[in-house]
Each structure stands twice: as structure tokens, then as C-alpha cells.
């Protein structure tokens, strides 16, 4: 059975490229445009992995991850941050919020799939 990935990014092109990469690798893909939208998507279905941007309107990535980790059903769901940000301080914030990993854009499709393979049980 195919695994499901939730992609959270306010940029339509990034959502599209990540969705294209993951669907080619056999994933079912769900999209959200910001953190609050992503939480609504999670109310409706279970996902196996989350890939989220950091800077988004309405609810940013760090707030979204904290909310995600507060829910019992998503406490251990792998969360990868996919962002242009590369500062160590920001990475620490992501780790403290509960992120599983950090990928700096632009991402390489084969590397993204490789990382997902490492964090997914």
C-alpha cells in the first residue's frame, strides 16, 4: 500500500515539484499552503511523513511543527523542513520544535527520496 506524504508550502511551484518527485517514487501526496491548512488536512486523514517550509503566512513552519507534536497521533510522524534558510540558529529552532531533519532549497529529487527513505520506518 502506498505511503502518504503531506507537503506544506505557500509556493505552488515547490508543492508541485515535491509532489512530482514523491508521486514518481510511489507516494500518495496531500498539499497544504500553510501550517493551519496542514493541520486541517491532518484532521481528515493520516499521513506517513510531513515536508514543510519554514516561512509561510497564517501559520509558519515552526508553529505548525509544535502543534503537530502536541497531537498524540502525529507525535512521532517524521517531519522534514524544506526551506531556503540555512542558518544554524534557525536549524536549532527547527530541531527544538520537533523537526526530524532539515533540507536547504533547492532540493535534489533523488536526495530527497533518499532522505525520506532514511527517516520513514
Amino acid at each position: 500500500m502506498a505511503k502518504t506524504a503531506l507537503i506544506v508550502d505557500d509556493a505552488a511551484t515547490i508543492r508541485q515539484m515535491v509532489a512530482f518527485t514523491l508521486s514518481q517514487a510511489g507516494f500518495d501526496v496531500v498539499e497544504a499552503t500553510h501550517g493551519r491548512h496542514a493541520l486541517q488536512q491532518l484532521d481528515a486523514r493520516r499521513v506517513d511523513i510531513v515536508i514543510t517550509d519554514l516561512n509561510m503566512p497564517v501559520m509558519d513552519g515552526l508553529t505548525f511543527i509544535r502543534e503537530l507534536r502536541a497531537r498524540p497521533e502525529t507525535r512521532f510522524t517524521p517531519v522534514l523542513m524544506l526551506t531556503t534558510e540555512s542558518q544554524a540558529e534557525k536549524k536549532q529552532q527547527g530541531k527544538a520544535a520537533g523537526a526530524t531533519g532539515w533540507i536547504v532549497k533547492p532540493f535534489h529529487p533523488e536526495k530527497l527520496i533518499d532522505v525520506i527513505g532514511k527517516v520513514l520506518p
Binding site: M17, E85, S86, P106, H108, V119
Partner: protein
Amino acid sequence: MRWLRFLSGLLHAPGVYRSGIEAKAHAPILTVLRRQLGEAVSDVEQAVVTVCESFAGITQRARETVARAGALLGGAESDGKEGAGVEQLVVQARATFEHLLERMERGSELSLEVVRRMEELEASTREVSKAIAEIDAIAFRNKILSLNAKIEAVHVGELGAGFGVVADEISNQARRSTELTEQISAVVSTLRASVDQTTDRLRQFAVADRDRVAASRAEVKATLDALENAHWAMRAGLADTAERSEMLAAEIAHAVVGLQFQDRMSQRIGHVTEALEAMENALAVRGRGSIDQDRRRQEIAGRLESSYTMDAERAAAGSACVTAPESGGEVELF
């Protein structure tokens, strides 16, 4: 971009800040510049979305083409299902033709067997003819014997009367035997003629049939060999197509990396438009006095730096030192 150069010229023009009224007159231009930048970002985003949709379609069609061709050719390397692929059909055709040719060869052998039996029958009829001839000869001798017996019976006189009767009966038997042997001979002759004719025709047919079956076997083998060779050539072509499809997918992945420039550009231009809005507001405030102007400028610069998300933006503003070029793709697991 021309509007940024225009803005830069505007800000550095000596006479602009001397007149608040003149500054307010130029403020609406910043609104236009912001809108142009926003629309440019939207246009680029739409273009990249369209390109990515095309890539997805290209990749999907390439994979479907390879999968469909693989299913058509059949064999273990295809979708794994038994049956309708060309390779399966060639195997089935070979088996079917083999069975058909074997049955035809058995038919030819049966025909030759019938010919042999007919020849044996022909030999038997010749034996029968010989026996009939011998019976005929016996009947003739019996006739002579009965004639001699009659002559002797006459010589003996009355005592030989019974003997004469026996002699007559023997003569009758001999005549009857002769008649019967003549009938049998006629039937056997007719039978032999029919057997000879049938045997000749059957022999010719059996030999011709055996030769035809051998020729058909050679033709079928040649045709199936050619079909199988064509099939393997097609499979080689399919393998080449699959390889090219994978190369295409790799090239598209490379393009996906390059197209992500749009996201970075969108963010940077977003920050520029925010700065332009702040400048626009600052120009509107300029008429109140130079102290307010300085404080306002500092507020705008501070807010601008706090909105930066990339080292390249901070470097351009002079607030960070970038020692290595950004390559992206950096991964760190916690």
C-alpha cells in the same frame, strides 16, 4: 531591472529630498513598481508551474509507453502476467505447429502402413489365384479320372454300374469345382485389379504427403524463427527505450532543481516590494521633518533585515559575510 535603477536614481537625485511636495509626487511610482514586481513574480510562478506540469506529463507518458510496449511483447520482464504477449504467442504457435506437424506425419505414416497392408493383400490374392489354379487342375484331373472310371465301368458291365454312377458324380463335382473356381478367379481378378490401382494411388499420395509435411515443417520453422528473431530485436529496442526513458527522468530531475530558482526569486522580490512599500510610506512622511525622517529610515532598515531568510540577502544588505557560495540541497538529520 529598470525600475530598481530608476528608484536608485530617484533616491540619490540631489534635489528630491529638498521638497516634501516633490517627494510626495513621486510616491505613487513606488506603488506601480511594487505592483509590477508582484505581477512579474506571478508570471514566473505560473510559467514554472506550467513547465513542471509538462515535465510530469512527459515522464508519465514515457513510463506508460515503456510499460505498454513491455506488456505487448510479454515475457517475464513485463508485468509478470501470463498470456497475450508476443513472446508467449510465439511459444504457443511453435507448440501448436509442432503438434499439427506431428499429426500430419502420423497421417503419412498411417498411409504408408495402409500401402504395406494393401501390398500384403495383393500378395495374398496372388496366393489365392495360385490355389484356385491348383483346384482347377485338381478338378480337371478329377474330370479325366471320372471319364476313365466311366470307360472302365462300361468294360466291367453290369457290376460296374454303381461305379459308373460314382464316376458321373465325380464328373459333376469336377464340373462344379471348375465353375466355382472360374467365379472365384473372376472375383479375385477384379479384387486384385482394384487393390493394385488403390495401392498405386495410395503409395503416390503417401510419398507426396510425406514430402509436403517435411517441406511444411521446414517452412514453419523458418517462419517462427524469423518471428522470434523479430521479437528479440523488438525487446532490445524496448530495453533501449527504457534506458532512454530513465535518462529523460534524470534530466527532468535536474531541471526540477534548476526551476526552484523561482521560489528563491519570489522570496527575494517579496522582500524588495516590502522595502519599497516602506520607502513609499517614508517618502509620504518626509514632509514632517528630518528627525522623523531619520528615525523612520532606521525603522525601515531594521524591519527589512529582520525579514531576510537567505544569507545572499543579508550579504547584499551588508549585514552578513558569505564565505561559500550557496549550493542548496544541504541535509541535516536531528
